[in-house]
């Protein structure tokens, strides 16, 4: 059976962590142009795919293209986004830069103490090793440090909020952008 499963959430482009799937979902649009676009998109994605996908689905409103390939040549699995290192930014596709993610479950604090100024704010430039936040876990205050140079584009979590492992905390842009 050629079952392929769509990624469960949101609008995705690119490959999921298992390296086996690629989905684009759009909504609305007129039939003929859309069909052409869909076809072009599918063909394009195929051409750009770093290795052969197991399945491909392109959907645009009522128009859909789905292809699956037999699973013979096992694709080189791309590993799950790991640890506190910067990971490619999540959707939308247009977003650039990287995110700094939580290395542990805990409570996120932007400041060294209540009422103090935040470690960093939007627009600030950071250097590797610079502390940018604290995560409190089991009464321990664990520093969150930048691992790459960059400029803080967005703080993604509110001060005092609980975060889970791997949750994006900051969006960073390259320094030269």
């Amino acid at each position: 059976m050629s079952s392929s499963y769509r990624l469960p959430r949101a609008v995705h482009t690119g490959f999921d962590e298992h390296g086996e799937h690629e989905v684009i979902e759009l909504h609305h649009g007129g039939l003929d142009d859309v069909l052409t676009s869909v076809q072009r998109t599918a063909a394009d994605l195929l051409a750009r795919s770093p290795h052969a996908p197991a399945s491909l689905t392109v959907r645009a409103g009522v128009v859909a293209v789905e292809m699956t390939w037999a699973a013979t040549p096992a694709p080189a699995a791309v590993a799950a986004a790991a640890a506190s290192q910067t990971v490619p930014a999540a959707a939308p596709a247009a977003a650039i830069g990287t995110v700094l993610a939580a290395s542990t479950v805990g409570v996120f604090y932007r400041s060294p103490s209540p009422g103090a100024a935040p470690f960093v704010k939007e627009g600030d430039q950071v250097v590797p090793g610079q502390q940018v936040a604290i995560i409190e876990a089991m009464k321990l205050m664990l520093p969150v440090e930048a691992d790459k140079p960059g400029r803080v584009v967005e703080v993604l979590v509110k001060d005092g909020a609980s975060v889970e492992f791997g949750q994006p905390l900051f969006r960073l842009a390259p320094i030269d952008s």
């Binding site: 096992a74 479950v105 321990l140 889970e164 492992f165």
Partner: protein, 449 residues
């Protein structure tokens, strides 16, 4: 009763615990590694928290992350399942220290029973029969050799901190004793960070039989009969059943009473399993206590009608046992088969991968506990248990036939995925198994090892 429970486990047991919570009207928090974020329990739970990357040490063994997840979600209790942190007294203590109820025995009871020599001492005090051997760990080779001579050969040298068949050596002859003693100590030190060992009589053709107990916090305890887990491959159980075929009911009743006595003497709380060894003259000896729910608990549920996970939760919530010993009536025969994602033709190597088809068996008196579903990707990071198939029938012959029917209709397909399904069928139709004349050597014999 709790309003919310955090399930500190994964796989089928996490789903099992979630089901009990739902029936009790308790909300659930699943914790999961990055690898398990599309797992069944995550889909089913009211909330899910990602606690770490794929390696267990950073996720399912990460006590700090689990306690933080409980705090963040407002969970009041933690169910540890089996394996992982389920028999870790430090984790139980960290839970209590953070205001969380650990669903299991108190930390000091886990610590005592987890130490083989301490457990032996406690059970001796409680009047349980033990195999001739040392109660205290033996620290000098000469004294140990003298004791072995007294016990009579063959003897077995076991790591005090060991378990699961690791850290033990059988010594057939006095001349081998000294070398085996040193070797076992060294292995124990490496494996468990604890070189203490003890010595006891080894019974080559004995049977391993375990007794399920339930104890509340008010001095009430019951036993729910025995389980036979003789079908093992390298100390990994493949098939479990109850009642233990061929054991007189009078004997298992006495074992049950002994288990209850031992549990009450040590202040046990919740569900636990007492392992005994039974010799050819039907003498039984205490071996160890498993301070957790067991993988094979469903066979006991099937013949008693008691939901053991629900009882665990009720007891942890401070309720009194509603069952008295006379309420526990057992009927029929139950068998469990573990369907692992392994290739029996390649030495049972795990074969993780995407399940393209997954159709579990159904129909009368068949239960399936699984986290699998069509489309699920079995991760490589964890153990290979994918599903437990449990059947009930009025008699053992009917149960075997029913199990073979159920396994035959279990469809599991995916690229590169193999399972133990067909191998289990070989076990079930083996004449020795059919006649219940098998012992723990059955699987090796079938495999021609």
């Amino acid at each position: 009763m709790f309003g919310k429970i955090l399930i500190a486990n994964r796989g089928e047991i996490a789903v099992r615990v979630l089901r009990a919570c739902r029936e009790l009207g308790i909300r659930t928090v699943a914790v999961h590694s990055t690898e398990d974020k599309d797992s069944a329990v995550v889909h089913l739970a009211d909330q899910a928290v990602q606690i770490g990357p794929a390696p267990s040490r950073q996720s399912y063994l990460n006590a700090a992350a689990i306690v933080e997840a409980a705090r963040a979600t407002g969970a009041e209790a933690v169910h540890p399942g089996y394996g992982f942190l389920s028999e870790n007294p430090d984790f139980a203590e960290v839970c209590e220290a953070n205001g969380l109820t650990f669903i299991g025995p108190p930390p000091d009871v886990i610590a005592t029973l987890g130490d083989k020599t301490a457990a032996r001492a406690a059970m001796t005090a409680a009047g349980l029969p033990l195999l001739p051997g040392s109660v205290e760990p033996l620290n000098d080779a000469e004294g140990a050799a003298r004791l072995a001579d007294e016990i009579g050969y063959p003897v077995i040298i076991k790591a005090a901190a060991g378990g699961g068949g690791r850290g033990m050596s059988i010594v057939e002859d006095p001349v081998e004793f000294s070398r085996s003693y040193q070797q076992t100590r060294a292995t124990a030190q490496t494996l468990f960070g604890d070189g203490r060992v003890y010595v006891e009589r080894y019974l080559p053709s004995a049977r391993h039989v375990e007794i399920q107990v339930l104890c509340d916090g008010y001095g009430n305890a019951v036993h729910l009969g025995e389980r036979d887990c003789s079908v093992q491959r390298r100390h990994q159980k493949l098939v479990e059943e109850t009642p233990a075929p061929g054991l007189p009911a009078e004997l298992t009743a006495r074992m049950g009473e002994a288990a209850v006595r031992g549990a009450l003497a040590t202040g046990y709380l919740g569900a636990g399993t007492f392992e005994f060894i039974v010799d050819t003259e039907n003498n039984f000896y205490f071996m160890e206590v498993n301070c957790r729910i067991q993988v094979e608990h469903p066979v006991t549920e099937a013949v008693t009608g008691v939901d053991l996970i629900t009882e665990q939760i009720r007891i942890a919530a401070g309720e009194r046992l509603r069952l008295k010993q006379e309420d526990i009536r057992r009927g029929g025969v139950a068998i469990e088969c573990r369907v692992n994602v392994e290739d029996p033709d390649r030495n049972f190597v795990p074969t993780p991968g995407r399940l393209e088809k997954f159709v579990p068996p159904g129909g009368p008196f068949v239960r399936v506990d699984t986290h699998g579903f069509a489309g699920y990707k079995v991760p490589a990071a964890y153990d290979s248990l994918l599903a437990k198939v449990i059947v009930w029938a009025p008699d053992r012959e009917g149960a075997i036939r029913r199990m073979r029917r159920a396994l035959a209709e279990f469809t599991i397909e995916g690229p590169g995925v193999h399972t133990t399904r067909e191998f289990l069928d070989r076990v079930l139709r083996d004449p020795l198994f059919v006649e219940a004349k098998h012992d723990t050597g059955l699987v090796a014999r079938i495999l021609g090892d």
